[in-house]
């Protein structure tokens, strides 16, 4: 079977001599001449003249070696050729993953995009509930966390009273920020969770919120200074965990779909590729 896959050098009947391009001095002569042409610009005209002569001679000699027929030399083929072999001939098959594929292209299944969107939206509700609870418990009211989220857009509202009051524009901006971020993070969960198949809720509910909170902690002063000054990090982390647990549970309960990695690009792109799918199916791919 191996010889069908690659015909190793020497395994077939190889020729005793091989024709190769003959060595020649004309390239170096041409290159040296051309260099002298340029060097003459900063030294002496005679250097350029000498260079031009050499370059022309090099070109003429070169052309005469390739026109009308390229000059070759015969090289004797060595008798000894290496045997392609390995000290690791055994191959362990990953049959526990699949019985169908010759090569497992992991992951075999992923969550659909809709799973990430659903998870993000569900997580956004949980996070909103926790944030509003914080507003009520802290005594600032339900609009306080909403206004804080959109505070970067309204730098004039700096006092606690202003931030605790209802503003329809702040509500719209905060809702957009909240939904957009939630859906994007939900999509990220949808992509990442198959890589951690054993503990999806741990990833969603603990690891990711802590990482996300750490990242925000380092950059929040730049993107929303008002929120950075007033944020209660304990509640923030709790709301992130709430988001993560709910999003993780929702995403992990969705039905996975097979990836198309084993299919050729043309098929995945929906382009008609004659014969390819049929051939792959015959091979059991």
């Amino acid at each position: 079977m191996g010889s069908e896959i690659l015909r190793p050098p020497g395994h077939d009947r190889s020729p005793s001599t091989i024709e190769l391009p003959a060595p020649t001095a004309w390239p170096i002569v041409s290159a040296f001449g051309l260099t002298l042409v340029f060097a003459g610009l900063v030294t002496s005209a005679s250097v350029s003249i000498l260079g031009a002569i050499l370059a022309i001679a090099g070109c003429v000699g070169w052309f005469r070696e390739v026109l009308p027929h390229e000059k070759h030399e015969s090289v004797q083929v060595e008798e000894r050729v290496p045997v392609v072999a390995t000290s690791r001939p055994e191959v362990t098959q990953v049959r526990w993953m699949t019985e169908e594929l010759h090569r497992a292209r992991l992951p075999l299944e992923i969550y659909p995009i809709s799973a990430g969107i659903k998870g993000g939206l569900a997580g956004s509700v949980a996070m909103a509930v926790l944030a509003v609870m914080y507003g009520i418990i802290s005594g600032h009211g339900v609009w306080y966390p909403i206004n804080l989220l959109s505070a970067g857009f309204f730098p004039a509202r700096t006092t606690v009273e202003q931030i605790a009051a209802f503003h329809w524009d702040a509500l719209i901006i905060a809702t957009i920020i909240h939904l957009l971020c939630s859906v994007l993070v939900g999509l990220l969960y949808g992509v990442a969770l198959p890589m951690f198949p054993r503990h999806p809720v741990l990833l969603g509910g603990a690891i990711a919120p802590v990482l996300w909170s750490g990242l925000l902690h380092s950059i929040l002063d730049a993107i929303n200074p008002v929120l950075n000054q007033r944020i209660d990090w304990l509640w923030f982390v709790l709301s992130q965990i709430g988001f993560g647990v709910v999003a993780g549970i929702v995403v992990s309960r969705q039905t996975r779909v097979h990836t198309w990695q084993s299919l050729p690009l043309g098929v995945r792109a929906g382009i008609e590729v004659s014969g390819r799918v049929h051939q792959d199916n015959e091979d059991g791919h």
Binding site: P9, G10, A25, A39, V84
Partner: protein
């Protein structure tokens, strides 16, 4: 490991007269010999440029130092930068591409063997012309010898008014001449990849090494041409009364910047794509896994090729291009981080779950991964225009691009040296010395370039000759210079290891790493014709198929 033991081809040839052997090397059109010539040439210039770097760092080791004069200092950083980019890294990468490409794609030689030889000699003579300035440029004006205008030679420093004598002319001509060689070798690589692949090797089955060098060669053709044009324009300015870059006569100094950086930034990718190629071959073999996401790696490479042509002016944020231009180049710079990041993830995913063998080539590749990541992150920082306004032309920039070129490219290059040295020489290097080299260079690199960021953040400008004490720069500069000596020691161990191993090393078979690409199926070193019969492949890992006939890819 391979079980065969192959005698070195050409055994007994060493007894021939040295003149005959020299003649063979000078007249050779064999891609392997030309590859080795490129590599040796680059190593010689690496030593020269390394010495220049040591001079720079000794000068900056303490405040008010006068180890060299300000004039010599200017020449040192100009020659160091120019040499490292044009006469070390580019040639050595061309050398590896020359040597390995035909072997990897199952060809007997490059598409144009004579053009290949011509290209090498143009590159070589370009470097010699640049260094001839040391004796040839000391003109009547007492203007000094070697070029001193910096490696990007901004106008109006290069005008006759500010650059007397011929030093700048030698800089222009040296790069111009080597540029012809670069374009020649790029045409050869593109043609070879398109036309010379063995039967069965479709583009989708081609080794990533070939893909990356293919894109690199395309970039060379696109990027070096504007530089060559700009060099000719500068010559016209200097000697024929042109005013391309003369602002007082209606020209534009900023136009030189655009010409230079539309070469200069793709050039970074010209240098780093072959480094990616090395890592893409070494990491799978030493992780005992196929590369993760081959198709995505190819796509990311092509994407880098395209995007890299649209980021050049992020070198010019401090010029004052206007908000629209700044915004465009910030966004394009951010965009190029995406395919580059994909590559980093794919290399990590290749290692993930693999049976990693921490041999010297793999150590260098692992270090490359993390150092190049840091280099990319500081690149994103500098690609943000407001940040760049604060730190442009500071030592932070110097630290960033040395992180790219040394921490990224040079580390991958060292990995490549260790990985393919057995193929090129038929001898195995000394693993202990290889690891000593790694650790010396690793420590030296981090001492130098980690700590170099800090004086940059504290306001130390690049190219400064000396500085006042008490600015908080002193200790950092001392540490940075100490690191250089660790790196120099590492380089000496590296050279000593290879010289010793070449003459005294243990002979190896054709496939010491149990690898999967075609070059490992032929003798070490390969015969002049590469393969007695042209191979035919049916997968991306043809040697895997041969070694595991019951489980082919």
């Amino acid at each position: 490991m391979s079980t065969d033991a192959i005698a070195l081809p050409g055994t007994g040839l060493a007894s021939r007269p040295i003149v005959v052997r020299l003649h063979e090397w000078v007249t050779t059109v064999d891609h392997k010999r030309l590859g080795i010539l490129y590599i040796i040439y680059a190593l010689v210039f690496l030593l020269i440029a390394g010495i220049e770097a040591i001079v720079i760092r000794i000068q900056l080791i303490r405040p008010h130092n006068d180890f060299v004069s300000p004039q010599v200092f200017n020449r040192m950083f100009t020659m160091h930068g120019t040499t490292m980019i044009f006469f070390v890294v580019m040639p050595v990468l061309f050398g590896f591409a020359n040597y390995l490409l035909p072997l990897m794609i199952g060809a007997r030689d490059m598409a144009f063997p004579r053009l290949n030889a011509f290209s090498f000699w143009m590159t070589a003579f370009g470097g010699l012309l640049l260094y001839f300035s040391l004796v040839g440029a000391n003109g009547l004006y007492g203007a000094g010898n070697a070029p001193d205008v910096g490696w990007f030679a901004y106008a109006p420093l290069t005008s006759q008014t500010f650059s007397l004598g011929h030093s700048t002319d030698f800089w222009i001509l040296g790069i111009l001449v080597s540029g012809f060689g670069s374009i020649g070798v790029a045409i050869n690589i593109v043609s070879t990849v398109i036309c010379m692949r063995c039967p069965g090797m479709t583009l989708a089955k081609m080794p990533l090494f070939a893909w990356l060098n293919f894109v690199m060669a395309g970039l060379v053709i696109l990027a070096v041409s504007p530089l060559t044009a700009a060099q000719i324009m500068l010559l016209v300015d200097r000697y024929l009364g042109g005013h391309f870059f003369d602002t007082q006569a209606g020209g534009s100094a900023v136009m030189w910047m655009h010409f230079f950086w539309i070469f200069g930034h793709p050039e970074v990718y010209v240098l780093v794509l072959p480094a990616f190629a090395f890592v893409s071959e070494i990491v799978p073999v030493f992780s005992r896994k196929p590369i993760f996401g081959y198709s995505v790696m190819v796509g990311a490479t092509v994407a880098i090729g395209f995007i890299s042509m649209s980021v050049w002016a992020h070198h010019m944020f401090t010029v004052g291009m206007g908000a629209n231009a700044n915004t465009f180049f910030v966004l394009s710079t951010m965009a190029i981080a995406v395919p580059t990041g994909i590559k980093i993830f794919n290399w990590l995913a290749t290692m993930w779950g693999g049976k990693i063998d921490f041999k010297t080539p793999m150590l260098f590749c692992i270090a490359f991964l993390f150092q190049f990541l840091v280099a990319g992150l500081t690149g994103v920082m500098l690609g943000t225009a407001p940040f760049n306004w604060h730190l442009g032309n500071s030592y932070f920039v110097v630290a960033h691009f040395h992180y790219v070129i040394v921490g990224g490219i040079l580390f991958a290059l060292f990995g490549a040296f260790y990985y393919w040295f057995p193929k090129m020489s038929g001898k195995m290097y000394n693993e202990t010395l290889g690891k000593l080299h790694f650790w010396l260079f690793f420590i030296g690199f981090h001492l130098t370039f980690d700590f170099m960021h800090i004086p940059g953040l504290l306001g130390m400008p690049r190219r400064i000759y000396t500085y006042e004490p008490g600015r908080g720069w002193d200790t950092w500069n001392l540490i940075v210079t100490i690191g250089v000596f660790f790196q120099a020691a590492g380089i000496l161990v590296f050279l000593g290891n290879f010289i010793w191993s070449y003459f005294r090393g243990e002979s190896v078979g054709s496939d010491p790493w149990d690898a999967w690409t075609l070059e490992w199926s032929t003798n070490s070193p390969p015969p002049v014709y590469n393969f007695a019969t042209i191979p035919e492949v049916k997968s991306r890992r043809p040697l895997w198929d041969l070694k595991h006939p019951d489980d082919p890819d």
